[in-house]
């Protein structure tokens, strides 16, 4: 299967752009309000930090320091599959492919945001 992201830059372009577009919408920004979410991706290695404590929310592409309310470590391919609707977030977590640091309940609360991101991702992919 072809890799969805050629390199780290491709991850930042597609996923960084996706989350920036998503959080620019105040309705979606509200869903994650007050949270700092960090994605630590592998293959290719990349890091995204969504700071929804700021208004408007800020998306940082690249390594970042400091605590996050929710940190997800997962392969970039799996994130692509989750956003494409081919894999579930809970399944990925259940079988250990997604490592979570922070409250798992916050992960559940973020489901509507992931669903919205998936809709946007699929729309952009078409």
């Amino acid at each position: 299967m072809a890799k969805p992201f050629r390199d780290t830059k491709a991850v930042y372009d597609r996923l960084g752009g996706l989350f920036k577009a998503l959080l620019a919408d105040p309705d979606y920004g509200r869903m994650a309000r007050g949270s700092v979410i960090r994605f630590r991706l592998s293959e290719p290695a990349a890091e995204l930090r969504l700071n929804c404590r700021k208004d408007p929310a800020e998306v940082h592409c690249g390594a970042s320091e400091g605590p996050a309310d929710l940190e997800l470590a997962l392969p970039a391919t799996l994130l692509h599959e989750v956003l494409s609707g081919k894999a579930g977030l809970a399944d990925g977590y259940g079988d250990g492919r997604i490592q979570v640091r922070g409250s798992v309940f916050r992960l559940i609360a973020m489901k509507p945001l992931f669903d919205a991101a998936a809709r946007l991702y699929q729309r952009k992919g078409k």
Partner: protein, 406 residues
């Protein structure tokens, strides 16, 4: 009107209670006068239910059957099998007055449809997968940590451990001490900064709450590296806890090194005099040492953020210090509080006072040259300015506070 159709006679009862003498029309069982409305007449008279109600009832029975069927409970208790539950429902719904019945059925249908997601097997399977995932991840983490497979930074801070205990600190911050934090925007989100706060409460809970306040309230949450007293290293567990959460033994070199690395550092210049303060001296700031913190800030050009903490003085109100015991056990502080030593280890449980933390406007130090750190007058000026800001803010916060516990 009671239905009692007999041999061509009207089956209705008159208002006086006697049977109607009229003849029934076209086998409806009623005379012209007592003809029921068109729809009601088509329904069986015994139940008094309408066609709409009947379909609603069938729908609810079907939903109920499917809902109970999804739950494994019927296999364990035959009385709760789908058939029996539906029978019980049928018997129960018959007892409800016809007017209320339709309303009740509608509510039951809406409830069952709403709960369909929760009752679906996939939901429960998903929840089970998720929960077993949580258990696996925690088990994996504990096993990995038991093997010593975890990372710490140059100062011994273990970010994973810190994140793991954050919910406990969050609980204390939000629910136990109900901390009100203000002025958090005065703490820099990036770059170096020196938080200088008043110290109290025997154990360093004030440091933990300042750290949690920045985690929870700041738009750019970051780790705070507190410089702690060497006395805390003598208390079992406390030293390990402090090191793992990123706190460092108080020493000017440590502080300067951290600030030069553009970190956020917190100091409590009152030191032991602050934590060992008697209850009658509460909120009276002790001497700020020899201004070591000001020297550190001037040398590194870090802004100083004076911070006032109100509430920590009451968590372990010290009425007396047991100096003889302190000398005998070589302990710097052995306090006599309402709970310690009377309740033994339970005496370490702090009281749930109401806390307020305010981060005051930063005091810039970049207008001084690094050499000014050796100028006693400059150092005292900066130290006194910071001390005065904290004391003034403490008085303001005390005025705002309604009581010690609320």
């Amino acid at each position: 009107m009671v239905a009692m159709s007999t041999n061509g006679q009207c089956g209705a009862t008159t208002a006086k209670g006697s049977p109607c003498r009229g003849r029934s029309v076209a086998d409806t069982g009623y005379c012209r006068r007592h003809q029921p409305p068109a729809e009601e007449a088509a329904e069986p008279r015994s139940t008094g239910s309408t066609r709409g109600e009947r379909s609603l009832r069938e729908e609810v029975e079907d939903l109920l059957k499917r809902a109970v069927d999804r739950l494994p409970i019927g296999r364990l208790f035959p009385a709760l099998s789908p058939g029996r539950v539906v029978e019980t429902f049928r018997a129960g719904i018959e007892k409800v007055a016809p007017k209320a019945r339709e309303e009740l059925l509608r509510s039951a249908r809406n409830f069952l449809i709403r709960q369909a997601t929760w009752l679906a097997t996939d939901t429960w399977k998903g929840a089970w997968t998720f929960l077993s995932g949580v258990a696996d991840q925690y088990r994996g983490m504990l096993q990995r940590r038991a093997r010593g497979d975890y990372e710490v930074d140059a100062y011994g801070m273990d970010e994973e451990f810190t994140d793991w205990i954050r919910p406990a600190f969050r609980f204390l911050y939000r629910f136990y001490w109900r901390v009100d934090t203000t002025g958090v925007q005065n703490v820099p989100g990036q770059g170096r900064g020196l938080i200088v706060a008043n110290h109290s409460g025997v154990l360093p809970w004030d440091g933990a709450m300042i750290m949690t306040g920045i985690w929870e309230e700041h738009a750019e949450p970051r780790y705070v590296r507190t410089l702690y007293l060497d006395w805390f290293t003598q208390i079992p567990w406390v030293s390990q806890m402090l090191t793992r959460t990123g706190q460092i033994l108080a020493h000017p070199e440590n502080g300067e090194r951290l600030l030069n690395e553009d970190r956020l550092v917190a100091v409590f210049p009152e030191g032991l005099k602050g934590v060992g303060k008697l209850f009658r001296d509460r909120y009276k700031l002790a001497r700020f040492g020899r201004g070591g913190f000001a020297r550190m800030a001037i040398r590194t050009g870090a802004p100083i953020i004076p911070t006032a903490v109100v509430g920590a003085e009451e968590i372990h109100p010290t009425f007396r210090r047991l100096h003889l015991v302190e000398k005998a056990f070589n302990m710097p502080i052995v306090p006599l509080t309402p709970t310690f030593p009377w309740l033994g280890v339970f005496g370490f449980i702090p009281l749930p006072s109401k806390w307020k933390i305010h981060f005051c406007d930063p005091v810039p130090t970049n207008r001084y040259r690094p050499e000014d750190a050796d100028n006693f007058l400059v150092v005292s000026k900066v130290a006194n300015q910071v001390r005065d800001s904290i004391q003034k803010k403490i008085h303001e916060l005390l005025k705002e506070r309604k009581g010690v516990f609320w």
